[in-house]
Every structure is written in C-alpha cells, then in structure tokens.
C-alpha cells in the first residue's frame, strides 16, 4: 500500500505515522508538504497529529487553504481513503470532509493518557472486519478533543453507523457522563467518526503511538489490527 502523510507547519506526529506504516507495517510511505499538489498516488492519505498552523484562529481552521488539502478533497471525491489522527481529525472537520467540530476538553485540561476505545461500526475502512464491541487501548494527547455536533447531525451519525470509535471503560462500557470513561466530555463519548462511504475516518486517539512492545502496544487491546486493516480492500 502507498501511504501519503500530509505535513503542515506545526504537524508533529508525522514521523510517528511514517514509522508505523513504513517501518512496522512495511508500506511505502511518502511525506507530502502542505504546499505540494502531488499526493504521490496514494492508497491512503494520513493527516497526522500536531498543531497545524499553530492552531491559530481555530484548531485545524487554516489548513483548509493548503494546496495539498485541495488535492485531498479531489482524491476523496474519487473514492480515496483518508485517516485523520487528532489534529488530522480536527482538520477534516474544518474542511467539512467530516461533520461536527472538536471543542476544548470539558474538564479544561490537556489530556495525556491511555483510553479504552470501543469499535462501534465495521463500516469504515479501518474497522472493516473488526468485531463490533472490540475494545482497544490507545493513547490520547489533546486539549481540544471534545466532539460536538448539533442533535440532527448526531442522530444521522448514529443512525448511519458512522460512529466508528467511542471512549469506554476497560470492559467496553460507554458512559458519556463519566469523567473516567469519557475524559474529554465528547458528545456520546464519540472518539472517531467516518463519512457516509466509510472512506474518510477521523479519530482523536493516536493508534500510531502504541504499536510496539516497548510501549505496551502489543497483546490484548492492541491498535495494531486497526492499522493492519487499512490495507484491506
């Protein structure tokens, strides 16, 4: 699989993504500077975490003017797959490839911790073939991960099976009102969503950071199967 990682000024998780898809999963990975218009003919585009444009104006807001993002839109229109991680998810919402917005964490703290995620939909490319209800462990590191959308949008996401991941406790129980299992206060404990066709996925947690034994990323609850699924057709 050919993977292209878009690098914005302020992105800081691009190298982790390259390491994950390139070194660990053996794919061919290109880094595409945000001003480039050649996406390098990818099978998957990844928008990495970080602070693109310094989070100026609003997190992810200024990325919409990057020439590479215009190409990403064209690529998505042709059925291309995009994975937006953390800041990448925020960017996908700002360019309206995904609905909703990420607000500041409800508890007003930057959260740097492990969370449990429940796979709630097999409809996206990252969860196709993964059993619904599977719980994975993943790190989060964000100050603005509180997913918000109006009620109409939330109903649509839920009804169409577009909520891909939800924050949960270690047993897989979801409780949006719990500060423990839903630390950033996201609506419906939503951690990740997809577009209608399941070709664009955004999630706040960082699966690419927890794929190696050294960081406890293997074994039960590993995120590895999710990234492995990205290359399935």
């Amino acid at each position: 699989m050919r993977v292209s990682v878009i690098v914005f000024p302020g992105s800081n998780c691009d190298h982790d993504v390259v390491h994950a898809f390139g070194d660990l999963l053996g794919h061919s990975v290109s880094m595409v500077w945000h001003r480039d218009t050649d996406l390098q003919n990818p099978d998957l585009v990844v928008l990495p975490g970080g602070f693109a444009y310094g989070d100026y104006l609003r997190t992810g807001a200024l990325a919409k003017v990057s020439p590479a993002m215009a190409e990403v839109r064209r690529y998505v229109a042709k059925g291309g797959r995009v994975l937006g991680i953390c800041n990448g998810f925020q960017i996908l919402c700002e360019v309206e490839l995904l609905p909703g917005v990420l607000l500041q964490n409800s508890e007003r703290r930057f959260l740097s911790q492990f969370v449990s995620l429940r796979v709630d939909s097999p409809k996206s490319f990252i969860t196709a073939g993964v059993k619904e209800g599977t719980v994975v462990t993943c790190p989060i590191a964000h100050g603005e991960g509180n997913y918000y959308a109006d009620n109409e949008t939330l109903k649509r996401l839920e009804g169409d099976g577009r909520v891909v991941f939800r924050y949960c406790d270690e047993q897989g129980t979801v409780d949006p009102s719990s500060r423990i299992s839903n630390p950033n206060g996201s609506a419906g404990s939503i951690a990740g969503i997809s577009n209608e066709s399941g070709t664009v996925v955004g999630l706040m947690p960082h699966p690419e950071r927890s794929l190696e034994k050294l960081v406890g990323g293997l074994g039960a609850g590993s995120c590895m199967p999710l990234l492995e699924h990205c290359s399935l057709r």
Binding site: L57, V65, V101, L103, R108, Y148
Partner: protein, 126 residues
C-alpha cells in the same frame, strides 16, 4: 476601510476558556487588596544574576501605600457570571462603501473566520 468582526461562541456551546476566566474572576474578587503583591521585590529578579534577597525597605513602602487605599475585596462576591470569550478580527478592506466591504467580509467569515457550527459573527465599521 477598517472593518471589525466580532466572533462569539453560540449560546449553549461550552466555553471552557470563559469558565476558566470566570473562575479566576471569582478568586480575584476574594483577593484582599491590603496585602502587597510584592511587585517591588520582584523588580530585583528581572535580568539580575544576584542571589541576594530583596531588601525589606521597598516591600514595607508598598504595603504602606496599599493600606492607604480602600482595603477589602476587588468585587462584591458573585457579582460576575456567564463569562464568554470571543474574538475581534480587524481588517483593512479596499472598497468604496461599508456595504460593499461587508459583502466581502461576510464571505470571509463564512469561509474562514468563523465556524458556523459553533460561532456567530457580527461585522461592523472599524
């Protein structure tokens, strides 16, 4: 032509920054103004390599001045609530009239300056 855009969070959208500031306002309103804030002592710390403690004389001078003003709290308790923080964007726009400038700035607001899911905007002449 100078144009100003006020961007505010829609009511009902959680304003974490506003809540944090409101919290600080409450704490500040409880602050006892007769206690010197030590600003005279901290002057010695700026750019100085000296580890010598600040002299006592300036501190007592500050407290004497503070005591001469009305002691007590900055604000009555619970006098401030519902703090919401927005943004002001100022632009210079080439146009022959404010109405014309407003059309241009409105497009900018919809496209970039404001996120319509969570923000309202107000355009006015600067």
């Amino acid at each position: 032509m100078k144009v100003q855009v006020l961007i505010r969070l829609k009511s009902g959208v959680l304003d974490v920054q506003g809540k944090a500031v409101e919290q600080c306002i409450h704490e500040l309103s409880q602050a006892d103004l007769s206690v010197p804030d030590g600003s005279a002592e901290s002057g010695g710390a700026h750019g100085s390599d000296s580890k010598a403690p600040a002299s006592k004389a300036p501190a007592s001078k500050v407290s004497a001045e503070a005591k001469s003003t009305t002691p007590g709290k900055l604000l009555p308790t619970d006098s401030v609530s519902q703090v919401r923080i927005g943004k002001l964007v100022e632009l210079q726009v080439k146009s022959s009239s404010f109405e014309q400038a407003k059309v241009l700035v409105e497009a900018l607001c919809k496209k970039l300056l404001a996120n319509p899911i969570i923000e309202n905007y107000e355009i006015r002449q600067g």
